[in-house]
């Protein structure tokens, strides 16, 4: 039984702060995937993009001594890696799911190879002395708000970046020309092409945005949340991000809220596990966020509608 003391150990200000921390990489990747799919390209490669971003962010931090340069490297390499997906799906007209699956596997190969090249062994890298966590700062005034303040506004850099991305992409999709083009490209690409906007370009852009954000999400794991890179450290977060994108109804704000929910489920299970309040094997707790994911997707998916041409190849002069 959970008594009052235990309950207060689990449900406290820290829980919210931890939820936000845990949801950060998921939210960033989910927003990226959202933009990508709104443009009409299915992107199940977020997991692979994140792991690539995570490695290069760490490696460049180690090489230069600056986690900021590391963050930039994560961004750039995530973007570059996603270019393969854009090229395969848009230019070569390959099946989006197949390309994504291949990229996820390829990412494991690339990062292992790079590990051996850079550190002489697979597994876990040496840790970097300075991470982005060292740059934690409290936003004046805002962080003084009771309960919400400390958890939302006394955070590390990428968490703030995540907040900004939610706001930016919500605005971007609602108000800008390119945002409108992305929406049209995912719903009815021929409508876009026939008024003179290149669907290829818009879809490339959509995929690259997901790559850039996926890279940042990966960087969060290796140079902000931790100080090392470990092979496979994304641990399914790229896929959870897809679930968040779907439950969030393919909107940036929805993706963020869904990611927050998963982050909360994770934070909650960690606390429950540590508290020892319920005496069952720890593995069962680990399941909680995944079951929550499943439930959320099953419950919300029926209401949320994918872009109509999501995953559909776009080609003007068919070969047939």
């Amino acid at each position: 039984m959970i008594d009052m003391i235990l309950a207060s150990q689990i449900f406290n200000v820290d829980l919210l702060a931890a939820s936000i921390r845990l949801s950060t990489p998921i939210a960033i990747a989910a927003i990226g995937a959202t933009i990508c799919e709104r443009s009409g390209v299915v992107n199940i490669a977020m997991e692979g993009i994140m792991i690539v971003g995570a490695f290069f962010a760490l490696w460049f931090s180690a090489l230069t001594g600056s986690p900021w340069i590391g963050l930039f490297a994560g961004l750039v390499f995530g973007g570059l890696y996603s270019l393969i997906h854009a090229w395969a799906t848009v230019t070569l007209h390959l099946d989006h799911t197949v390309s994504g699956a291949v990229l996820n596997i390829l990412a494991l190969g690339i990062t292992r190879y790079m590990m051996v090249l850079a550190y002489g062994h697979p597994g876990t890298s040496d840790s970097i002395p300075v991470t982005l966590a060292n740059y934690r700062f409290a936003v004046p005034l805002l962080s003084d708000i009771p309960i919400l303040g400390p958890s939302l506004f006394n955070q590390t850099p990428i968490v703030y970046i995540m907040f900004l991305l939610v706001i930016f992409f919500t605005w971007f999709m609602k108000k800008t020309k390119v945002g409108l083009h992305i929406k049209a490209s995912g719903e009815h690409p021929y409508a876009l092409e026939t008024i003179g906007v290149s669907v290829y370009k818009i879809r490339y852009l959509g995929v690259i945005i997901s790559g850039l954000l996926g890279g940042v999400a990966g960087a969060y794991l290796s140079i902000e949340n931790q100080s090392t890179f470990t092979e496979g450290m994304t641990n399914g977060r790229g896929f959870i991000a897809m679930a968040a994108m779907i439950s969030g109804g393919w909107t940036p704000i929805g993706a963020f809220l869904a990611a927050l929910f998963f982050g909360f489920a994770e934070a909650f299970q960690l606390r429950l596990q540590i508290s020892g309040a319920v005496s069952i094997p720890g593995e069962f707790f680990t399941i909680i966020p995944y079951v929550a994911t499943l439930a959320a997707v099953a419950g919300l998916v029926r209401k949320s509608k994918a872009p109509k041409a999501d995953g559909k190849d776009f080609i003007i002069e068919k070969e047939d």
Partner: protein
Amino acid sequence: MSPKEERNVVLETRHIAKQFPKVLANDDISITLYEGEILSLLGENGAGKSTLMNVLYGLYKPTSGKILLHGEEVEFSSPRDAISKGLGMVHQHFMLVDTLTVTENIILGAEPGRGGVIDYKKAREQVVAIAKKYGLRVDPDETIENLSVGLQQRVEILKALYRNAKILILDEPTAVLTPQEVDELFEVVKTLRNSGVSVIIITHKLEEVMEISDRCYILRRGRQEGERLTRGATKAELANLMVGRDVVLTVAKTPHTVAKDPIMQLEHVTVLNEKKVQALKDCSLDIHPGEIVGIAGVDGNGQSELAEVIMGLIPVESGRIMHEGEDVAKLSTRQRIFKNISYVPADRQEFGLVLPMTIAENIAIGYHEKMPYCRGLSLDYSYINRHAEELVASFDIRTSSALAPAGTLSGGNQQKVILAREFSREPTFLLVSQPTRGLDVGAIEYIHSQILAMRDRNVGILLISMELEEIFALADRIMVMYEGKIVKELDPEKTDEKEVGLYMTGGNA
């Protein structure tokens, strides 16, 4: 032809050819468009009309040949180039984003506003202004999916006008419109012509060609077959040029005796649509073997629900559906099909065929797990293909073989595949919805004669059509549907299109 000399040529093609990997869609086409004229383009399904227009519009690159605009050679590498030179096109399949608003669709790609941010206020003003200027009323804030097809088309035209189109291409604009909407469209087209816009219009309906256009070109199998001034031309002549043989525009209907006991009866059937609104209200109807009952009505007055409820695709709310005296309202679609009820759906690509599958597979589908289409657990492809080859021959389906994917056929031939499948199953009751939408006169002639042949074989037929002409050509009895009700039964011998049209729009003569 004398007017040629006096008028300005705005657009000209010289020896345009377009080769797709497997078909030569355009072969040496040279046409001229004069300033302020309405030109129509006629041709069978697959003749290459849309292809030619897409070449003009910069969507396809011509394999050879030239395009001249005001006498100057132009090369369009994308529709953007064509638009900037004053071309606008309303495509055969609408190019509208359903989930966006009217305004968003109109401004798409040419949005007002500084530095990448859309000025929605200005956009809306511009849309309202241009709609007012041409008398094309439409709510700028409505989402496309909530608009009727007629209004959607208006948005398409506004899209072209918003971009200052001086040459407007309309690819089969009337195929999906009601007669009233067609009249409205033609008014708009004439207004545009008078304001100096030159128009190219594609249609399969000869009377529309006669009514709206000054001149027409006829294409057949990718080649230019002729040019006529519409004044002076006859429908029969144009049809002959299109098809390459004499076409009977109205298939002869011989009197036929009707059996006394109905094969299909609807008794007080009420149906709800997705929004839980009554789409069919207390409908009663009976169809006897050997007769064609025609349902006339403006699209969206319950016809699709009528078809779906008979086939068991949506449940009845109340009432009975009697087939040979047995209530089938609770049976699944499959069980109904096995009672020899056949269905030719209105949307042939969505519901009638599996486009990537072969013609043979499409013919077997639905019956494929029955003898003789299968043997044990496996399909008997040698029978399936042989059977299909026979039907391809007897239904005159134009294809390289029965193993070609259904998606590669022209619209008319796709429809023939469905007819071949349904008619060869020897139905006792046949539900045919919109059998000739978008088809050319040759295909219509064939399909009408097949439907009449089924009637003469004592099949009870329910025909749903938005085309009054089709209803009059085929039906033995006319039922008019309005707002989910059958409002009137008429005898085609004793009524005319005008009277039916009146009931269709809720009037009562």
